[in-house]
């Protein structure tokens, strides 16, 4: 397990472009909105939660495309299926490392983006917390899509077609939490709901991803 984690981290460290690209994409999308709408702080403040979440959603589908693809092509997944360790544990490690490099980095970038969209600094904690929970859900849900499209043709647009409808609840609760926080209201409810979605997606995604990987291997 530790070995798998270390391997994943080493891979990510050697190819920083894989996890940096979605972050750059995220900042670019966030930049587009003030330019295309208007830079007035009031407008930006009302739009900010939606903008941040849509950007996070799109950048996560971008990073998920290659989640299993390289390992699939190089035969690593095959070894995992054959190995004595339970497949779901290995997959869980992989998703956790992916979340660390996509979600946690996004969370660290988010305060900058939030400040630039005129979100008050008192709400930054909720912005980071909701993004951390939400990107974990997105990594898990996206892993289902990535595993399902492993041996499919035209898989890049297919992945977002499958993942985005299922990511809708995350978008709703995450954006609502940020919205409430920037208005200075209590955000506990929305964050709890987001947390329960996380628990649900752990229990739903791991068996589904494992099944999908096994099917792709046959």
């Amino acid at each position: 397990m530790g070995e798998v984690m270390r391997r994943e981290c080493r891979l990510a460290a050697r190819k920083p472009s894989q996890w940096l690209q979605p972050l750059v994409f995220f900042s670019l999308v966030v930049t587009l909105f003030p330019l295309s709408l208007s830079p007035t702080p009031d407008l930006l403040k009302t739009l900010a939660p939606g903008v941040l979440w849509v950007a996070a959603l799109l950048s996560s589908t971008l990073s998920l495309e290659r989640l299993f693809a390289n390992d699939f092509e190089e035969g690593v997944l095959e070894q995992w299926v054959l190995s004595p360790h339970p497949l779901w544990v290995l997959i869980a490690c992989k998703i956790a490392v992916h979340w660390f490099f996509s979600g946690v980095t996004l969370m660290l970038l988010a305060p900058l983006a939030a400040m630039s969209l005129a979100i008050p600094s008192s709400a930054v904690g909720v912005v980071m917390g909701s993004l951390a929970l939400g990107t974990l859900c997105l990594s898990l849900l996206g892993a289902i899509g990535a595993a399902l499209t492993l041996s499919a043709r035209r898989s890049s647009s297919l992945l977002s077609l499958i993942t985005l409808p299922m990511a809708l609840p995350i978008l709703i609760f995450g954006a609502r939490a940020m919205d409430l926080a920037s208005q200075g209201q209590d955000t506990a409810g929305a964050l709890w709901l987001l947390g329960s979605l996380c628990v649900l997606s752990v229990s739903l995604a791991l068996p589904a991803v494992t099944a999908a990987v096994r099917i792709a291997m046959e």
């Binding site: 399902l148 499209t149 499919a152 043709r153 985005l164 809708l168 609502r176 099944a211 099917i215 046959e218």
Partner: protein, 248 residues
């Protein structure tokens, strides 16, 4: 063991092919009768609504389609689970036969709903909870069909899309709940309520007839599509010859 022989017989393509054929008249006759009665009564003879006038009559098409869009998805998910667990190819054939039907009913539901929304809410589309979840359901259907179409190998397409159907089915209530929490404008339930249906019998009976009639229509279409699906999958001449002997 003896109790399950019917199941084994149904699970073999030739007998399923024939069972679907024998079931066909049991579905299309009631469908025609009930839809003639239900739609005729609902669209012409049922009394006008005191508030909505004639516009409410679209419920005779809209509500059954909404019900079928969910029924088809649930059936697909159950069939997919059966196909995944017991490796039953016919269950996958049924799922792929149902997907376009479910998508079509979802689309009809959305179109009739927006036609009704124009005079009632003043807009073809409103970002209401039920409308949005129905739209997302349509996207789930489309995602399922596109995923299915992007595999060359039938077996792999079956099992991969079956995983998606099951995952999507688990997600439908979550999506519905979250969207509901977000915004709701749709009128409340009319037929299923704690204090009985809020509808006079002259309106209710045709509506129930439409529900059953449309369901029979979908079952009939599913039989037709399932037969076609089996034919495509079992393109072995010897098998076709045995079918011809028994039948037609």
């Amino acid at each position: 063991m003896g109790r399950w022989t019917w199941f084994h017989r149904l699970a073999s393509p030739p007998s399923c092919y024939q069972t679907a054929q024998t079931l066909k008249p049991w579905f299309w006759v009631p469908a025609v009768v009930l839809l003639c009665f239900g739609l005729g009564n609902g669209l012409y003879f049922a009394p006008k609504d005191y508030q909505q006038g004639d516009a409410y009559r679209i419920i005779y098409i809209h509500a059954p389609c909404a019900w079928l869009s969910l029924l088809a998805f649930s059936t697909m998910a159950i069939a997919s689970a059966i196909g995944l667990i017991w490796r039953l190819k016919l269950a996958h054939a049924l799922t792929s036969a149902l997907a376009p039907l479910g998508a079509a009913f979802t689309l009809v539901c959305l179109v009739t709903g927006s036609l009704w929304g124009r005079p009632m809410w003043g807009a073809y589309w409103a970002w209401d909870a039920r409308l949005t979840s129905e739209l997302i359901l349509l996207f789930l259907y489309v995602g399922y069909m596109v995923l299915r179409a992007s595999f060359d190998d039938v077996d792999r397409a079956d099992r991969t899309s079956a995983v998606l159907a099951v995952v999507g089915f688990v997600n439908v209530p979550i999506i519905h709940f979250s969207v509901n929490w977000w915004n709701s404008l749709h009128q409340g339930s009319t037929v299923i309520r704690a204090d009985g249906p809020a509808m006079p019998a002259a309106m209710l009976i045709p509506l129930l007839a439409c529900f059953v009639g449309f369901t029979c229509l979908m079952a009939y279409l599913a039989c037709v599509r399932l037969r076609a699906e089996i034919l495509v999958r079992e393109r072995r001449p010897s098998w076709l010859l045995t079918v011809d002997e028994h039948h037609e």
